[in-house]
Structure formats: structure tokens, C-alpha cells
Symmetry: C2
Subunit: 270 residues, 2 copies
């Protein structure tokens, strides 16, 4: 990358900051985009979040996150839909047209049925999201999160789910950490042409210090990030690139340092 | 499962035992099959291993493991082929016709080229293996092992690699721990009809205590083991079922207890 025009701080990378601090941090570091997380927005308040982001001159690349559709009974599933509708409203209010979907784990051992619940949940959410000008970005997670976070664990399935809709309604979010291992990756990225709604970067560390909080800064691991970026761009995607790193060590250092490292790694390794 | 006819102890499940102890343990517990690991065979000696297994009346379901094909230069790759040839000879000597292949990680970031090295490695090994009456069983590993253990991380790729050969030469090994998350699992199992050379069971614990040594006893996790077994059997596979569990806690208990638990879990959950 030649400059920072497309660089976005996914807020989880600076977990130690609240949203106000993250907004101020991005402004100081001249990072033009931010992707807030809902629990941090709630903490600061939606209207205050919106105002501070605007005042700082930041753009919102996406809102993290909707999804979590599967549940053990119909009323709980309906609650999840209602919560997703609130997420859509928040995304629209914050000025982004992308709500990232982390689709959720199965309530039991039946992963096939849970995928059906995801399909049904998306179907229920699409008209509401469209009426708010918000696209749903299905983010396939790494298969090691299949039991606890998402039954959607491949680009193939994310593409299949998205293709039931128009590209203005539903697309996919490509996160290198989640998809780098996939033998079918480059085919699936091509297939997603016109539907890629986000591109997330971090790295796979060897050894991996923790299944959840063990992602690395770009360049510190084994992922061919720029090869994947080029494939994503070949489909026409030229939107923001979010740095999304779950890492205990990075979370315990001063977050301003994280932003400096992130900018340097972005130019070198993305 | 109704009885123990197909039950095999993959030796890693009783890591605390050497091969002699594992053989005696299987005989005591009336587990009819065993899958030895090469480093344990080496420790005991090949001919002694063979004799003790035979004297105990055990059958060998497979030898773990060949593979590890990718390397940074041609001479190192040749060393790996030579080692694989020794593994083939050992499998034949021990009386099994299946050598399990854990294909190996990439020597660098280029996972696509590493997969090419796997393809080439298998191509070099096939004639030698066939002349010894040994089939190569490609075992796709879980994608979380892509960086450190195997670039073959999907049934799709394992099937594609195997299909370059006759079923008498190369097949696939289905391990529920490695493949349960796959949205395309049941299609890929059907596709493997006539080529399934082994079926391994354990479970995915929630939370997962450790990426390597955190597998569970069957029934203790979220995998639909019997559903997968039925799909595997529908292809015609009726061979041994190996219990293969990497787990620090299980490795620190008396291994005779592990065999008792394993037999109970097998009847209930496989």
C-alpha cells in the first residue's frame, strides 16, 4: 500500500480504548476510517458516537457486528432478529452501509440445522436492512470458531448464502485470518466479485499464542496478505481495509503505539 | 456401535505408554486393533514391534505417519521422500496396508507452492508404496494446523489429490476432529466412495483447552460423530475405527482407564 487512504482501525485492535479514545487516537494518527463495535457504541451512546466520529473527520467502514442467528427456540431466534434490526439502525445512524455478520454457533450438535437458521435469519433481516440502506456483509470465520462463534466457516458457504440476494443487499467480508488456509480461496474470491463489502487484515502467528486472542500484526505471521489483497482488488473492491487484531499483548501496550505499528505494517505488508 | 470388532487404539491416545505397554494394554482391554506411531516403533525396534503385536493377536489398522513433503530445497524434499519410503516399508512389515499421510506445512508463506510439493511428493511415493502393497491415506487436517502441520486442510483437496490415482494406490482418511466443521463434508464423504482408508474419532471440546492437545473423548464435545460415521459407512467403508486423542489430561491419567473410557464412549457415541 502506498498511503493510508484506505486504512481503517477495527476497534477491537485497540480493545483497551473506549470509543471516544479510539476516535481521538485515529484523528491523532491520521487514520481516516474506523469500524466501531456495538458494545463500545452503546457505552458511549449512539448519538454521541455519531457526533464525535463526524467531528473528528472520520469515516465508518463498517459496524461490528450483527448475526448470531441460531438459537434453541423460535422466541430466542426472534430476539436475535430484533437485535439485528437495532444493529442495522445503528449502522445507518453511524453513516456506514455495511453491517458485518458473524453468523453464530449452533445451539446444539446439529451444525447443519444451525446453518439453516442462519439462512432464515438473513432472509428475515434483508428487507429491513435494505430499507435502511445497509448491506449485510457475511464474514466467514476460521473453522476453529465453528463451535463457539460461527457455523459459517468457509468463503464457499458465505458466497452461497449471499448469492440468494442482489449484491446491493448481501455480500461477504474477507478477513485474511479467517480464510488464508482455504485451498479454494482464490476461486472463492473471484466468485465474490461485486459482493465484497470489506477486507480485514492481521496475521497468523506461529506458534499461535491463543485461539481467540492470538492474532498477529501484519508481517509477523505466515499469511500472504498482499497476494490476497490483490485478488480481492481484482474483483473491483477498492474500499477500506480494516486492521482487526485480537491479541492480549497488543491490548496491553499503549494503543497509540499500536496505531504506529499498524500504519507501518500496513505499508510494508498489506 | 454394537461391539468392539472395529475398534482401534491410535497409539497417540495413550501417549504415556510405549508401544510394548500399548500392545499389552490393548490385549488386556480386548481392543482388537492398534495404530502405532513410527517414533514408538523405532523405540521398541521394528521386528520386536511386529512380533509383540502378532503374539498379542492384534491387527494393525494403519501406521502413523508419512507425509511432511514440503521443504525449502530439493535435497531436503528428497530426504523426506526417502523417509516416506522407510515408512512404507515399516507399514508393510507391521502388516498394515495403510500409511497415513500428514502432508506437512509450507516452508514459507507460499501455501500454494507447498501444495504443489505435496502433489509431487505423493507422485514420487506411489509406485514404491504400491510395490509394497501399501496404500497412501491422505488425512486432511483441521485448518488451524495449516501453518504448522499440513497444507492439506479440506476433504475437497484430499479427494482431489487422491483422485489422480487408482483407489488401490491413494485414498483419504476421515478424522471427525479435522473435518466436522466443513459445510461440504457430506458431499465430500460421498465423493470419497471407494477411497476411504481410515476413520478416526475423538471430539471437539467447548471451550477447546489447547489447539494441539485439547481433543476430547467421544461424547464430550460437539461433533455429530455417529452422523459422520453413517455417512462414511454409506460409501462402503467397514474397516477399523481409530480413536485418536491428543489431550494432556488424558495423557496424565492411567492409560488403562483411558481404554475403559474409550470403549464405553465408543459404544455410546460412535
Amino acid at each position: 500500500m502506498e498511503n493510508y487512504e484506505r486504512l481503517s482501525l477495527n476497534q477491537i485492535t485497540t480493545e483497551q480504548w473506549n470509543l471516544k479514545e479510539a476516535i481521538e487516537g485515529c484523528a491523532r494518527a491520521e487514520v481516516p476510517w474506523i469500524a466501531p463495535w456495538r458494545h463500545k457504541v452503546e457505552e458511549l451512546g449512539l448519538s454521541t458516537s455519531k457526533r464525535l466520529i463526524k467531528d473528528a473527520g472520520l469515516k465508518v467502514s463498517s459496524l461490528c457486528r450483527g448475526g448470531m442467528f441460531p438459537a434453541g427456540n423460535a422466541s430466542e431466534r426472534q430476539k436475535r432478529i430484533d437485535d439485528n434490526k437495532r444493529a442495522v439502525e445503528e449502522a445507518a445512524e453511524l453513516g456506514t452501509d455495511v453491517l458485518v455478520l458473524v453468523c453464530g454457533p449452533s445451539p446444539d450438535r446439529d451444525i447443519v440445522s444451525a446453518r439453516q437458521m442462519v439462512e432464515e435469519g438473513i432472509a428475515q433481516l434483508v428487507p429491513f436492512a435494505e430499507s435502511h440502506g445497509v448491506k449485510l456483509g457475511i464474514e466467514p470465520l476460521h473453522p476453529m470458531y465453528a463451535a463457539e462463534r460461527s457455523v459459517v466457516v468457509s468463503m464457499d458457504l458465505a458466497n452461497t448464502l449471499a448469492e440468494a440476494y442482489r449484491p446491493e443487499q448481501v455480500g461477504v467480508v474477507v478477513d485474511v485470518f479467517h480464510v488464508w488456509w482455504d485451498p479454494d480461496l482464490y476461486n472463492q474470491i473471484s466468485r465474490a466479485k461485486g459482493r465484497i463489502l470489506g477486507f480485514h487484515v492481521s496475521d497468523w502467528l506461529v506458534p499461535t499464542p491463543d485461539m481467540l486472542k492470538g492474532r498477529g500484526m501484519m508481517g509477523d505471521g505466515v499469511i500472504e496478505i498482499s497476494r490476497i489483497r490483490k485478488a480481492v482488488e481484482k474483483t473491483g473492491y477498492s474500499g477500506p481495509i480494516e486492521v482487526e487484531i485480537f491479541n492480549d499483548q497488543i491490548w496491553s501496550q499503549p494503543a497509540d503505539e499500536t496505531l504506529i505499528q499498524m500504519k507501518e505494517s500496513y505499508l510494508k505488508h498489506v
